[in-house]
């Protein structure tokens, strides 16, 4: 293991010859159009400055020129890997503002679809992370599993990524038996697969050597930067919006918040892998407890939340996703603020990557699970 002290010695020996390495905007490791301007001393990073905005679409402005309901499709397109959570946050904020009741069945289905989405998102991350580390095969195994989730959600919502499934007061349409049975089957299918991943990847010595004690982010840094999700839980703080700021019907389920005190890439990896297990647990309970009833509550035709500002936070796959809406009592939002987890998680990269080797910095970047449209919005 190489420590920062060694590196500072290394760069003060008189030959301060640094060069700038442009990682991206087109680079295999950035998974999208992120550019990292790296000032390098050999293979050591002296400063890595992320440059974002390449796919900035100004969703927040779009929110100000359409009705509340018309903004719904946008919410699936911010973090396309965990679209359900984002729709949930926006729908939740508007429901809170307009005091719309959501029937229990709809809340349960929201939990089921959100957790399925969380698993699929973590699976993409798992595969892509292995790809970053040079292991190609687990990516395709993970995609095979994810495909089952996408098939389920496609059967339910009609889309594979941009679901746009939740509505103010409930859901777009009710779940059917196929979906419920499919979810149940998936839970049974997924558990042995997780065991297989553990043997193939988690226990692999090459993999462990690449992650253990690499890219340490401590709880203090997470707090100061507002890093959430697996990043803060990998730093030992069991912060999870589902538990600490309960929303929907999450307090009806029994699940753990996996957290590891090490704060290294391995801790973040383990947190995500265990979260898949916990999500399976929630799915099992939610499917068993799913109440009957309508899938959408009483909703006014045109929604005009009373003037004021409201927030709603959910635990998205990447961390705390908060929507802050400001209403002036009209049918068009006055302001929609999207607080996205990847943005905060990436903001600490500059500090966390200082003095690291290029290889390790990429392992660190991968472990943050960045989705670029989520940063750029």
């Amino acid at each position: 293991m190489l420590h920062k002290e060694q590196i500072t010695n290394h760069s003060t020996d008189g030959h301060n010859e640094t060069f700038v390495l442009n990682l991206g905007p087109q680079h295999p490791a950035t998974h999208g159009v992120l550019r990292v301007k790296m000032t390098m001393d050999g293979e050591y990073i002296t400063r890595a400055e992320p440059v974002c905005g390449y796919i900035h679409r100004m969703h927040e402005k779009m929110g100000e020129n359409r009705t509340w309901a018309q903004f719904l499709p946008n919410t699936s397109r911010i973090d396309y890997l965990s679209a359900m959570h984002y729709t949930h946050a926006f729908v939740g904020a508007v429901e809170r503002a307009a005091r719309i009741e959501v029937p229990p069945r709809a809340e349960f289905v929201r939990v089921i679809t959100s957790e399925l989405n969380r698993i699929s998102s973590h699976l993409v991350w798992f595969g892509a992370y292995l790809l970053d580390l040079g292991g190609f095969t687990p990516l395709l195994y993970a995609f095979d599993d994810r495909e089952r989730i996408l098939d389920l959600l496609e059967g339910l919502t009609g889309a594979r990524l941009t679901y746009c499934y939740y509505r103010f007061g409930g859901l777009c349409n009710d779940v059917d038996e196929d979906f419920i049975n499919g979810t149940r089957d998936f839970v049974h299918y997924m558990r042995p697969r997780l065991k297989m991943y553990r043997a193939l990847v988690t226990d692999n010595i090459i993999f462990r050597k690449r992650l253990e004690n690499i890219g340490i982010i401590d709880a203090e840094m997470c707090r100061k930067y507002g890093a959430t999700g697996p990043v803060i839980r990998g730093a030992g703080t069991p912060y999870d919006v589902r538990r600490l700021e309960p929303y929907s019907v999450y307090d009806a389920f029994d699940f753990d918040i996996p957290h590891y005190p090490e704060g290294d890439c391995m801790a973040r990896y383990l947190v995500r892998m265990e979260e898949i297990e916990q999500s399976l647990r929630i799915l099992e309970q939610a499917v068993a407890k799913l109440p009957d009833g309508p899938h959408i509550g009483k909703v006014p035709r045109m929604i005009k939340p009373p003037a004021g500002d409201y927030t709603y936070a959910v635990e998205a796959a990447r961390g705390r996703m908060m929507v802050r809406i400001v209403s002036d009592g009209k049918e068009i939002p006055y302001r929609v603020k999207l607080r996205t987890p990847s943005f905060a998680n990436l903001s600490l990269f500059e500090e966390a990557s200082r003095g690291m080797l290029l290889t390790d910095a990429l392992a660190l970047m991968g472990s943050l699970d960045l989705v670029i449209p989520d940063i750029d919005r």
């Binding site: 719904l72 499709p73 009609g158 297989m196 043997a199 226990d203 692999n204 010595i205």
Partner: protein
Amino acid sequence: MKKNALKEIVTGFASLLTGMRITLAQFFKPPVTVNYPRQSLKMPARYRGHITFVRDQETGKSLCIACKSCQKACPSDCIVVEGVKREGEKRKSVTDFKLDFTKCSLCGSCVEVCPVDALEFSKHYNLASTNKEKFVVIDLVKDLEKRGK
């Protein structure tokens, strides 16, 4: 310390062999992919393709009453509806329904908002063209006429 290092080498090597055993087991299993475009999957009933008119089984015409709810509901302004009220008919009937598919985000607001359920999602997903013009205007009225034949 020394002992740990030796143990790590042994368990590490064992973990590599476990990994190789797993991939070899996968090697002898059949592929899970679909050989697109030679094979393709059937889209589920709720699949959201571009919108299309529901065909009235009796008249063979559209159910659309040109109320323009869909046009108003659309977040992307990609629907244009025109209709006339013909003599002897209670409601307006549609004369022109154009969808700009290049802007459509397939959210389904139009289908949901339709008071007479005149719209549905098509199951086409193999749409491709080298020419943008093909999708700028999808004429639902003409499309329905074509299906009638």
